[in-house]
Each structure stands twice: as structure tokens, then as C-alpha cells.
């Protein structure tokens, strides 16, 4: 089973490599949405490891995205041009910078996660929310990173291939992790933390691991975002961005990776759709207003969902796990 998933990953990567040749022909508007989908898949599938499989509640995922975006941009701005003609080509610098951004975010995740995940209860939501706002505040003051003006000048390295390659890798890592013998620990922590402790599972270790991994992927997503838009700004990684990602996880079904991928796709398209709707002048004023404010719509969506399908649109884990004694 493990082998098959590896082959599947390689096949997917090759397909994306092939497809990326045609991606140039797409109009910039749709290309932008497409890349947005890939980035959101990375963010949501990663967060699902924390909020879904492990049953914690992180509410500051955009903060880790910011760390990755700024760290990788700083790296490519510093090393990208000088090494362009040297031993490393620019693509290599870009990928290394992405990984650097991911590691930076993972480190931030470790610093935030260790103290807050030792506690049981909803401290994580409060702490991550706070950290999200603090990191935004710090970036707004950080002169070398552009402060309030934002940071620009990065080359556009992010393309169809890299975006979806990292999305595929994220999905692969998460599915393999939770499907493994080791990964049952995540599900056990979510099902019953005290029972998990009583079984000798180091629940803090699992929670921190999930959190750090999710932060790593968020960092990668941030790097991809920065090298697509070529301009980043502290406000782009605010609390509302974090809520977007949380909504994708809840809508997709906590702990259902396939569902979260679908939800991330739908919710990336939705704002574009709403933007179109808000321009139809024949619609009643209030409806156009609601369409303009997607957070109102999200709130309604979540309330209806909680009342009618608390397991998410697509249900929580449907995947069969390997339950034989190996």
C-alpha cells in the first residue's frame, strides 16, 4: 500500500510537469485562481493535520504562512540574483528558499506549539490567534522587510508545476503519516486525550509534531504565494486569512483529506464567484452586500453546517486505514 502511494505521487508529479507546459496558455485571471487553489490546498491539508486529525484548534495559520513568505523572499532577494549565473541556478535557489521558508515557519511553530500544546483545552486557539496578530505587528514595524510598505521585487518563480507538486507532496505526507501505525497516535489523541495518555502515548509530542508539520507546509505555501504575487504585505496574512483556512478544514470535514482538498478548491473559487454576483445590479441591494462580505457568508455557512452536518460536507475520515498487525 505504501509502495502504491509512492508510485501515485511520482505519477502525479510527472502529470503536473507535463500539464505545466500548457498552463502558459491560460488567461492570467484563471491562472491566478488556479495557483490560489494549489496554495490553499497546501494550507488547508496541512492545517487539517492539527484541527482535523489531532483534534486541536489552531486559529493563526496565516501567521506561519507569513513567516514562510517573508523568509523565502528575503532569501531569494539576497541570494537569487548574485547566484543566478553561478553554481546554483535561480530555480534551485527558489526551491531552497521555499524549504528555508518552510523550516523557518516550522521553527516558529515549535516555539509557539511547545508551551501552548502542553496544556489541554482551547489555549491553542487563543495563543495562535495572538501570535498571528503579533507577527503581523512585527512585520509592520520591520524596516528591512519593508514594514508597512510591504516587500516586493521577487521574481515570479512560482508556476503551475511547483505549486501542485508541493500540494501533492503535502497530501502524500499527511495521508501516509495518519495511515501508518505511528499515525494512529494522532487519531488517538483526537478521540480521547486522557485515554491516549493512559496508553503511554506522549500526547504532547504528537500534538507538537502535527503543529510543526502544518506550520512547515504553511511556510512553503507562503513562499509560493510570495514568488507568485511578487509582492507581500503584512495585512495579507491577517486573522481573516487564517479564518479562511479554518473554514476550508471544517467544510471539508475534520480529518478528511480528500474533502478538505475539495473544500479548498471550492472556497478559492467562491470569492471570485461572489465578486461577480455583487456586480449584478438587478439583484437586491442586501444580497449584493452579503456577496461583498464573504465573512458574513462564511459565518452563515458554518452555522448551517454545524446544525445540519457537523461532520463537514464530506464527512470525517472516510479513508480505510491499515488495521492489520504488520
Amino acid at each position: 500500500m505504501f509502495e502504491r502511494s509512492k508510485i501515485l505521487l511520482v505519477a502525479t508529479l510527472l502529470t503536473f510537469a507535463g500539464l505545466s507546459h500548457f498552463a502558459g496558455g491560460i488567461s492570467p485571471y484563471y491562472f491566478d485562481i488556479l495557483i490560489g487553489i494549489g496554495i490553499n490546498i497546501i494550507l488547508a491539508v496541512g492545517l487539517n493535520l492539527v484541527n482535523g486529525y489531532t483534534g486541536q484548534f489552531s486559529l493563526g495559520h496565516a501567521g506561519f504562512m507569513a513567516v514562510g513568505a517573508y523568509a523565502s523572499s528575503w532569501l531569494t532577494l539576497k541570494y537569487g540574483y548574485s547566484m543566478g549565473s553561478g553554481t546554483l541556478n535561480t530555480t534551485t535557489v527558489f526551491v531552497l528558499a521555499l524549504l528555508g521558508g518552510g523550516l523557518g515557519a516550522a521553527l516558529a511553530g515549535l516555539i509557539v506549539g511547545v508551551p501552548s500544546l502542553r496544556l489541554k483545552g482551547d489555549y491553542l486557539a487563543i495563543v495562535t490567534l495572538g501570535v498571528n496578530e503579533i507577527s503581523k505587528g512585527v512585520l509592520q514595524k520591520a524596516e528591512p522587510l519593508g514594514a508597512q510598505r510591504g516587500l516586493g521585487g521577487m521574481e515570479q518563480h512560482t508556476n503551475f508545476f511547483w505549486t501542485f507538486a508541493f500540494a501533492a507532496i503535502t497530501i502524500y505526507v499527511v495521508l501516509n503519516l495518519v495511515g501508518s501505525t505511528y499515525g494512529r497516535g494522532f487519531l488517538a489523541v483526537r478521540d480521547d486525550e486522557i485515554a491516549a495518555e493512559a496508553m503511554g502515548i506522549n500526547t504532547t509530542k504528537y500534538k507538537v509534531l502535527a503543529f510543526v508539520l502544518a506550520a512547515f507546509f504553511a511556510g512553503i505555501a507562503g513562499g509560493l504565494y510570495a514568488h507568485f504575487k511578487q509582492f507581500i504585505h503584512p495585512e495579507g496574512f491577517n486573522f481573516l486569512r487564517s479564518v479562511d483556512i479554518v473554514v476550508m478544514v471544517i467544510l471539508g470535514g475534520m480529518g478528511n483529506t480528500a474533502g478538505v482538498v475539495v473544500a479548498a478548491t471550492l472556497l478559492t473559487i467562491l470569492p471570485e464567484f461572489l465578486r461577480a454576483v455583487s456586480r449584478y445590479e438587478w439583484l437586491p441591494e442586501w444580497l449584493r452586500h452579503v456577496a461583498e462580505n464573504r465573512m458574513i457568508l462564511y459565518s452563515l455557512l458554518l452555522i448551517v453546517l454545524m446544525l445540519t452536518r457537523p461532520q463537514g460536507l464530506f464527512g470525517n475520515f472516510t479513508g480505510k486505514r491499515n488495521s492489520k498487525l504488520q
Binding site: R184, L187, A188, R190, A195, M199, N316, R321
Partner: protein
């Protein structure tokens, strides 16, 4: 095998255990009985390291384990089947049992213990691939006990195995507890509100009342004790 001395546990500013002492001899079944809220669960959780002890000592197999992290304590051979069963409801019966063996690496030993557990609880074998959340209360209790056994403990702590289970199944489960003790020579600390049953299967008993041990004796003697009869055995 397991000894507690002057254990004090507080939840915030509220005291739950006010200095209790008890002793569990190797190979015996010892019971801790008491009404709801007496502090039985707190005692077991503190032994397992899930709730911190304020003062006092817990010694297991000659070494102090007070306030060690829970996984260290399980690693030393002290397992618990928690109150309210607490099986992992989204995992299958088999996965739950394997979770119990989480700290072990000896595949052969694990397989052997699985066979043993399926032999004493054939119902679990029949429902091997069912998710635990779909089991009946009694079956979940069997699973919780089986899961605790999968860590190959030297001492097993059971928190109210009779709670919320059909009377017929309660009888079966208590017979199995005695069987496990006899066949494996496993030391058992049994916490129960159902004093009648607990004092019947155990060798020695402690009576806990609002965080204090008020009585201790051989179980047979406690069953005859007027005070105990009036308070816990319904006359």
C-alpha cells in the same frame, strides 16, 4: 508492588485527596471502593501521572514514580483502563488493541497477547474490524481492559468496569478479571462504586470517603463489617 503514602491531590484550590495511603501486594486483587465523588478516579489518574500529586509518594516495583509523565509510567508496567471506558471510538477494535501495545516492539509477544485477549473476550475477535464507537457498553469495557492488557503490564488498574453496563455482562467481566489475575498472576487495583461485587472478587479492600481512607481490611472481613454493610452494601 504498588504503594501510596500520604498522597494529597488538589484541583485548583479544592482538595480531592487528603493524604491517602494504600498498598497493593504482588499478585493480589485490591479494591478501592467509595461513593461517587469520593476520589477514586483521581487516585488512579494520579498514579498514572495524568493528574499531578501535590505531596506524598507513589512507589511502583520498588521505585518512586510520583509525577513521572504518563508514558514513562506505562512503560514501567503500570496500565490503566480508564473510567467511562474511553475507547478510541473512531479506531477499529484491532487498532484500539494495538494502541495499547504502543510502547512495545516485540511483534511475537504482541501477537501472542492478542490471541490471549481474543480467547478471554471472543466478542472482540468477532468485532475485530468494527469501529469501537459502534460497540455496546459492555463490549467497550472488554476492549478497554484488553487494550490495557496489551501493554503487558505488571499491574493493571481498572476504573469502575461495571459502570453503565448490563448486569449480565458485569458478571462476565468480573469473572474475566478474576481469571486474568489467576492465569497471568497479574496484580490488579480495582476501583468500584459497586462495593458488593468488588469485595467479592478482591483479596483486600480500602474504603474511600471524600478523599480519605476510612477503613481497610481483608475483603471478606469488610463484607461482614456493619458500617460497610450499611453504607455500601445496602444493609
Amino acid at each position: 508492588m504498588l504503594e501510596i503514602k500520604d498522597l494529597v491531590v488538589n484541583y485548583g484550590s479544592i482538595g480531592a485527596l487528603h493524604g491517602i495511603s494504600l498498598k497493593v501486594e504482588k499478585g493480589s486483587i485490591v479494591t478501592l471502593v467509595g461513593a461517587n465523588g469520593a476520589g477514586k478516579t483521581t487516585t488512579l489518574r494520579t498514579i498514572s501521572g495524568i493528574v499531578p500529586a501535590k505531596s506524598g509518594t507513589i512507589t511502583f516495583a520498588g521505585e518512586e514514580i510520583t509525577n513521572l509523565p504518563p508514558h514513562r509510567i506505562v512503560g514501567r508496567g503500570l496500565a490503566q483502563s480508564p473510567e467511562g471506558r474511553m475507547v478510541f471510538s473512531n479506531l477499529t477494535v484491532m487498532e484500539n488493541l494495538l494502541m495499547g501495545a504502543y510502547l512495545r516492539n516485540d511483534k511475537e509477544g504482541i501477537a501472542k497477547d492478542l490471541t490471549y485477549i481474543f480467547a478471554i473476550f471472543p466478542r472482540l475477535k468477532e468485532r475485530e474490524l468494527q469501529t469501537a464507537g459502534t460497540l455496546s457498553g459492555g463490549e467497550q469495557q472488554m476492549l478497554a481492559i484488553g487494550r490495557a492488557l496489551m501493554s503487558k503490564p505488571q499491574c493493571l488498574m481498572l476504573d469502575e468496569p461495571s459502570l453503565g453496563i448490563a448486569p449480565l455482562l458485569v458478571k462476565t467481566i468480573f469473572e474475566k478479571i478474576v481469571e486474568i489475575n489467576r492465569e497471568l498472576g497479574l496484580t490488579i487495583l480495582l476501583v468500584e462504586q459497586n462495593a458488593n461485587l468488588a469485595l467479592e472478587v478482591s483479596h483486600y479492600g480500602y474504603v474511600l470517603e471524600t478523599g480519605r481512607i476510612i477503613l481497610e481490611d481483608k475483603s471478606a472481613a469488610l463484607r461482614e463489617n456493619e458500617e460497610v454493610r450499611a453504607a455500601y452494601l445496602g444493609g
